[in-house]
């Protein structure tokens, strides 16, 4: 037995220096990698990523379940092969992605993953998922990465404690942080502005009073130009190629139901429809209404130019939808879902992603990880 302990201790000390655990004093932590085998570790030569022409796959960010200590994972759906691989981050990096990853964006040669519970932004090679860098925000750069998007050579992360931090894609460091409303969620870029949904989601005791707004931030100045009043508890936001912004206010899960509102470029807000999940392709909104306590969900789309609504968007519903994405090139629809236990979504077991053709015909089902709510395309 003594021998066993000695062996264990020896093994432990030999491995320990290889890994730097998170340290509050360090801004960014270099995770171990072999630069020679990893060309992606070289910085991008141009901050502006080249315009992609196709999506070859879909990354699924499985949030896991921090209250059960199920860490998040990354799945990848390969469109050519029609297969899903799970645990792709762990498999290549030999470590866990972290607690409750929420969202990711593919930009340039990299993918940026916002990991809320672990309070990090993981930057990986977009093709291999090999880690390039792990950004740990300092106390002045916000806490709790929530949503992540990219524009004009910068990556923007909403921080749940009320900030948006900007990552420079050349230096891979946070180069600016801006205070927005409380508990910001999703963001979108339109008309040279960054729009941030201020949910105030932690303040439901006071009816989300300090949220109910969208911060409109000038991309060049990175200052808040305007705070636009919207519905209760805005969490999702997207924009059309025409330049209109659509925000989804979740309501209070009680007497105020979730609704979608349009913000035009004059900052005028109008109600559009009721929905709880939303995404956009070009000028078409793809919507799912799965209100709290409802027995049946509706799937539909709206052409924002004509106002035409397509009912029964898909031919086969999922059990409990939590994410929707539409391939910007093919129009194929991807809807992620929990599996069910006794009529309730199961937060401890794997979920799945259904694939539909552009006209809503079910084509494939992919089993992915626990809580598969973040979807982002691998753009080439």
């Amino acid at each position: 037995m003594k021998f066993k302990h000695l062996f264990f201790a020896a093994a432990l000390f030999s491995i320990a220096p290889l890994f730097c655990a998170c340290n509050d004093d360090d801004n960014e932590i270099e995770v171990p990698r072999d630069p020679e085998e990893d060309p992606s570790s070289q910085p991008d030569t141009t901050p502006e990523a080249t315009s992609p022409t196709e999506a070859t796959g879909l990354y699924v960010i499985n949030a896991g379940n921090l209250s059960n200590n199920v860490n998040g994972t990354l799945s990848f759906i390969n469109f050519e092969k029609g297969t899903a691989s799970n645990n792709v981050f762990f498999d290549i990096n030999k470590r866990s992605l972290g607690g409750t990853p929420q969202d990711a964006i593919v930009y340039g040669s990299k993918m940026y993953i916002a990991i809320y519970g672990s309070n990090i932004i993981e930057i990986v090679d977009k093709n291999t998922a090999k880690s390039i860098k792990q950004i740990v925000p300092t106390s002045t750069q916000g806490e709790g990465p929530r949503d992540i998007i990219a524009a004009n050579g910068k990556v923007y992360v909403s921080m749940y404690d009320g900030y948006v931090s900007r990552i420079d894609t050349l230096s891979l460091t946070i180069d600016a942080t801006l205070k927005v409303g409380p508990n910001p969620e999703e963001m979108t870029v339109a008309n040279g502005y960054l729009y941030v949904a201020n949910s105030d989601g932690m303040n439901y005791g006071a009816d989300y009073a300090n949220g109910k707004s969208v911060s409109k931030i000038g991309l060049k100045t990175f200052t808040e130009a305007k705070r636009i009043p919207v519905g209760l508890n805005p969490t999702k936001i997207c924009s059309t190629t025409e330049g209109n912004v659509y925000v989804l206010a979740m309501g209070n899960y009680n007497d105020i139901s979730a609704k979608v509102q349009k913000i035009d470029n004059m900052n005028i807000v109008t109600d559009v429809t009721e929905a709880t999940l939303m995404t956009v392709k070009d000028n078409t909104l793809y919507l799912i209404n799965a209100p709290y306590g409802a027995t049946e969900n509706t799937y539909f789309s709206i052409d924002t130019k004509t106002g035409n609504e397509t009912k029964n968007l898909i031919d086969q519903p999922v059990d409990s939808p939590c994410g929707i994405a539409v391939n910007p090139f093919t129009g194929n629809i991807y809807i992620s879902s929990y599996n069910m236990v006794g009529g309730w979504p199961s937060y401890t077991t794997d979920g799945y992603v259904n694939e539909y053709s552009a006209n809503g015909k079910f084509t494939n089902k992919y089993n992915v990880g626990v809580g598969p709510c973040g979807l982002t395309f691998l753009l080439k």
């Binding site: 037995m1 302990h5 432990l12 491995i15 320990a16 290889l18 890994f19 730097c20 655990a21 998170c22 509050d24 379940n65 921090l66 059960n68 200590n69 199920v70 860490n71 990096n93 030999k94 470590r95 866990s96 972290g98 607690g99 990991i115 519970g117 672990s118 309070n119 990090i120 792990q134 740990v136 916000g142 709790g144 921080m159 749940y160 404690d161 900030y163 409380p182 105030d200 989601g201 932690m202 303040n203 439901y204 005791g205 006071a206 300090n210 899960y253 709290y292 306590g293 939590c322 599996n339 069910m340 236990v341 006794g342 309730w344 979504p345 199961s346 937060y347 401890t348 077991t349 794997d350």
Partner: protein, 676 residues
């Protein structure tokens, strides 16, 4: 039989004798009650007292296990959770360290199905429905026992039988056999900045009145190191934000108005201020949570008997508790969260025992409980509950047969000051237990029992924030047990051996669980069915090596096949439920000798799963933890000194009981006490 008293010599006999007189209500549980023990007590010799104690576990008609102060020492037990690991059929959830919450689940039924009884009165937490055992100090405990189902000890409040199992803690009672007052001072210190002084004073005022008071303080940094394994990477970490300080005080009054009655009173106060390290989150060691808890209760206990074969038992209690959870961070409105909860309980119980013949006894018990909860949290409705519990119990007892039947009638009336109350519940719950001694001269017993019990939803489950459901049905638990027990005294070198073996089948229906809509909105629902097949085994032996040298061996083993039967369509159908090992076991070996007593012990469990699905990523390795204790007591003039050293987790094994709540590695404790 005469030889068996050798290792129990000391002054234990007097000690126990007086314990019985002074704390009758508690000691009598499980003993020959009903037939007026007070009349007989003066005849009980030390030998009988000693034998009775071990015999109890064997004679009990349903699984019953206990550890007294001496056994706690002999088995090297360092805290309450450690004591419970030496019982079979028990699953301890331990969040690690001195301040980490520790709860007990018996036979996979869940923590909320076990009543925790302190000095004869059930402790309650109407909010969470479970008792954190880390708040009780092992140094103040005379005896710990666990009853699964109902045993022959029938003269108890109705509430005691209203749970699937009862864990009874009995505090130290004074011994005035040689002196009218005693002072005990103790100091304990250990790893991770732990220091724990205790003082106790006991005074006998006259033949009828005596009192004792205990005060205790404990603080610890709890900044213990642990090893974090993340895939191929292993790092040395520390458990930050984990300090604790605790004050505990107790005042007891013992009155014997006459030789047929006892009246005990207790006042208890507990105050703890601690940081909560939370679960270990990868890449994020920040933790700013704090918890302050305060608890005050006072209780009275009166018992008397009359010549007409009637005995009366009255209990009363007032309980107040407050908890304040604090967290900081920019995500909260105003940068911080302060949740405050206040609970009150008023409790009264009366029980009447009638013993018309030496074979038959009957009990009628009626309890009334009022609970309320106030909070400063959003959506607080200030709920309250009136509970009326009544039992009718019948016991038949001969030399060879004991049979007990209990019918419990429960009425739960719910309301809320602001808003709607949860649905009221009424229910009848039967319980039957039976034991048979096939040979008149042997010490072999066969036993069987059945109990149909339930628990109502806790206030958290009914009302908490946006997730409580007011229409939750009670969670039902059915228990079946069959067992065989044996005790014998063979020769001079093997003076005592006792064995118990029980097999059981439990069924839990309408399990109350939280189901999500999204990360903000959860809902409490009756969903879940669990079936449990299990085996519990205990062994206790003493080897007399030579005069003054004895070797004590104890062992316990538990097998639990506890599977989810909720939904055949679900991937985890028939999977072992979370945090439930198939096998768990404990063993201790103590060598008692005139120089320094030593105890080596081990407890271990097989692999567990952290969630419902039994897949490799949810798997947690099994572990074995070893401990070593050395202790010695000696007398100089009128002073008795006790010295004890403990090494906990001797092998420095890194393990978690709850995933991401690492347990401390090797640690040390040193205890010195003076008593006079």
């Amino acid at each position: 039989m005469k030889e068996t008293d050798i290792f129990y010599r000391l002054k234990l006999s007097y000690f126990l004798l007086y314990s019985i007189i002074l704390l009758l209500p508690n000691i009598t549980q499980g003993q020959e009650i009903g037939d007026t023990i007070i009349g007989k007590v003066h005849k009980i010799t030390d030998v009988i007292v000693t034998a009775e104690r071990t015999k109890q576990q064997v004679k009990s008609i349903s699984p019953f296990q206990q550890l007294n102060k001496k056994q706690l020492q002999q088995q090297g037990i360092t805290d309450i959770a450690d004591a419970l690991r030496r019982f079979s059929g028990v699953n301890i959830k331990d969040y690690g360290g001195a301040g980490g919450m520790k709860t007990i689940s018996v036979r996979s039924l869940g923590a909320k199905h076990t009543a925790v009884v302190y000095d004869g009165v059930t402790l309650s937490d109407c909010q969470s429905g479970q008792i954190d055992l880390s708040r009780f100090s092992i140094d103040n405990i005379q005896q710990i026992s666990l009853t699964i189902g109902d045993n022959e000890d029938i003269f108890v409040p109705a509430r005691t039988v209203a749970s699937a199992a009862a864990l009874k803690l009995q505090s130290i009672s004074p011994d005035f056999s040689n002196k009218k007052n005693h002072l005990t001072g103790q100091i304990k210190t250990g790893s991770f900045g732990m220091i724990n002084p205790l003082i106790r004073y006991e005074q006998k005022f006259n033949e009828k009145i005596s009192a004792s008071t205990t005060g205790e303080f404990m603080r610890a940094d709890n900044l213990y190191p642990f090893t974090l394994v993340n895939g191929d990477y292993v790092s040395k970490e520390k458990r930050y934000n984990n300090n604790i300080q605790t004050y505990r005080g107790e005042l007891n009054l013992y009155i014997s108005p006459n030789n047929r009655s006892t009246l005990n009173g207790k006042i208890y106060y507990y105050d703890t201020d601690q940081q909560l390290p939370g679960a270990v989150i990868l890449y994020n060691a920040k933790s700013r949570e704090k918890l302050r808890e305060r608890n005050f209760f006072s209780q009275v206990h009166y018992r008397t008997y009359w010549e007409n074969n009637l005995s009366l038992l009255i209990n009363g209690k007032f309980n107040w508790s407050q908890s304040h959870y604090h967290d900081e961070g920019g995500k909260y409105p105003g940068g911080e969260l302060n949740d405050r909860y206040f609970q009150r309980e008023y409790y009264t119980s009366g029980a009447l025992l009638y013993t018309p013949t030496s074979h038959w006894s009957m009990v009628y018990a009626a309890d009334y409980i009022y609970n309320n909860l106030n909070a400063n949290t959003p959506n607080n409705t200030s709920p309250y509950r009136h509970s009326i519990l009544q039992t009718v119990t019948l016991r038949y007892q001969t030399d060879n047969i004991t049979a007990v039947a209990i019918l419990l009638g429960s009425i739960y009336l719910n309301g809320a000051k602001e808003g709607n109350g949860a649905e009221n519940r009424r229910k009848l719950s039967p319980s039957f237990s039976f034991s048979w001694k096939p040979c008149t001269d042997g010490q072999l017993y066969l036993r069987a029992s059945y109990k149909d019990i339930f628990r109502v939803a806790t206030f958290s489950e009914n009302y908490f924030d946006r997730m409580g459901s007011r229409d939750l049905r009670p969670e039902k638990a059915q228990q079946y047990n069959v067992g065989i027990t044996y005790q014998n005294n063979f020769t001079s070198w093997l003076p005592a051996i006792s064995l118990t073996l029980d097999g059981y089948y439990n069924k839990v229906k309408d399990k109350i669980v939280a189901m999500p809509y999204n990360m903000f909105i959860w809902n409490m629902v009756n969903l879940g069915k669990v079936e449990i097949w299990g085996v519990d085994a205990n062994i206790n032996t003493t080897f007399q090596l030579a005069k003054h040298y004895s070797l004590l061996l104890t062992g316990n083993y538990t097998y639990q096949y506890a599977v989810d039967k909720t939904d055949p369509e679900v991937v985890y159908y028939k999977h072992q439920i979370a945090y439930t090992p198939r096998h768990s076991a404990g063993a201790s070996l103590a060598l008692e000798n005139p120089f320094i007593n030593a105890s080596l012990h081990a407890t271990g469990v097989s692999k567990r799963y952290i969630a419902s699905e039994n897949r490799p990523s949810n798997e947690m390795d099994g572990y074995i933890e070893y401990g070593l204790s050395l202790y010695r007591s000696f007398k100089i003039k009128k002073f008795t000194y006790n010295l004890r050293g403990d090494i906990i987790n001797l092998g420095n094994k890194q393990y978690d009981i709850v995933k991401s709540y690492p347990m401390p590695g090797r640690s040390y404790k040193l205890t010195c006490s003076i008593h006079f």
